[in-house]
Amino acid sequence: MTNDDRSNETSSESRTTPAPKKAKGGVDVVDASDDQLVVRLRERFGEAITSAVSMVGQRIVTVTIESVSEVLAYLKSDDEFRFNLLLDVTAVHRPEEDPQFELVYQLCSTTTLERVRIKTGLADGAPAPTVCGIWGTANWLERECYDMFGIVFEGHPDLRRILLPDGWEGHPLRKEYPVEFRENRWIAENLNIHALPDDADFSGKVEI
């Protein structure tokens, strides 16, 4: 039995028996429709703003994927808000939901010190619009998103892997990608690791 087989076996096991979910009520989610920023966004973009809530005192605005780059460009250029600092671009993978991906943009203004989180849903395999033209920061952050989730940013000037080596297989932060060590072709070819002891435990599982 090769190591590849074994690790695939354990990972499929862990997929069929998910960790027990004992969610007791979540964090209080407050409707933020009255917020000045949300009112202005709704006036301008209407139906494109699908929800606006506040969680632990932080504003979260959900936007449709078609208009996300317009909304972000507006938030940056508008004189009232001036969200000139893009802190982060990342994604969350929820395989059981539709759409599977959620793109998350953390915005901040260095003048008003306001903050807002813009989220948008993205189907698996669908392209996302790049925001490199709006903030230079987005270049590397979107490359990391591509590397980790396989999200393709349309119009990105230099979309290639950033943390993982070229030729790596898979995108590790997708939920179906196992956390266990996998002896894949890249590792065998480049790092000269061909076999592991039979009793090696890479499951990384914790029982509490």
């Binding site: 982060d88 230079g136 920061t137 980790m148 590790p172 509490i208």
Partner: protein, 377 residues
Amino acid sequence: MSSDAPNASEHVFEHTEMLLNMGPQHPSTHGVLRVLLKLDGETVVDLDCDIGYLHRGVEKICEHDTYPMITPYFDRLDYVAAINGDLVYVEAVERLMGVEVPRKAQYLRVILAELQRITSHLLWLATHALDIGAATIFLYTFREREEILKIIENFIGARLTTHAFRIGGFEWDANPEFERDVRAFLDMFPGRIDEYETILSENRIWLARTVGIGVLSAENAIDIGLTGPVLRASGVKYDVRRAAPYSTYPEFDFEIPIGETGDTYDRYLVRMQEMRQSIRIVQQALDGLPEGDVMAARVPRVIKPPAGEVFHTNESPKGEIGVYLVSDGTNTPYRLRVRPPCFVNLQALKQLAIGHLMADVVALIGTVDIVLGEVDR
């Protein structure tokens, strides 16, 4: 010499571009950073950073670990400022859970975080100066850094990868000598900063290597997402301790030093000033140190934050470090994203270096102040 022989001067002065590989094993790249340089003579024409040599998949591992197990991973992101990494993580979890941390623990956290900021800046100063050629300062800053590491070791039990905080406060109270040791350091240290400045601030070689090198305008710095001293040196007064206050920072009186021109020399000045401000904060926190417990009373034994999400950021010595935590109500995070200041700041290297000399690239890597553990995660 025959007349049809090629003209020697034409050949020598012909413009030719050369590709030079710097790193990953190179002393001035501060870890395993590989920089590909396209040179025209000695001038940098283009540059590409190759990172990921230290990628350990921390974000993926965190999805499979319980909340208390994750804290030590944050020590190993920015491993020269482990306490600041711990702080942002435990605060993010506490914020999502709604845990009230006792005031004494908050004050102790501020003291440790500011002391750690000083160690980080001292290490930066030592290596940055060493890269440029000033070897003396390295010995001096390590002498003072060692004093702080001793204080941290006596309290926490470890020098570098500290695992300083628990979710809810501290595992134990400060050791009896803690206050005395910190006060002794505070008395000694300002004079030592003067010493460093005597060595460097008006040193002709230092000035020649830093003034006017890698100038960034405020607009440009914001566009590429810089935070921390690198942004403030360009004249932007943005510090998370004031912009989105956390812990007990609103209770302390301190200034945010900013630069004017945004060159390498300004970034040096800003960090030197920041060390003096950190001293002020530690002084105030020690003077006003409250009595009481150091652990919140109602922290469950099994940490299960309610389903929801939070984006919490801190001012680390390198810039704005953030944790985006998505919880599904179980004992492991559904998604944990680290917003790494070093990763984002390193992106500026290309803009900084183009047009400068090859030798300046070394100074510019130093001035951005990166730690590859956090860049690669």
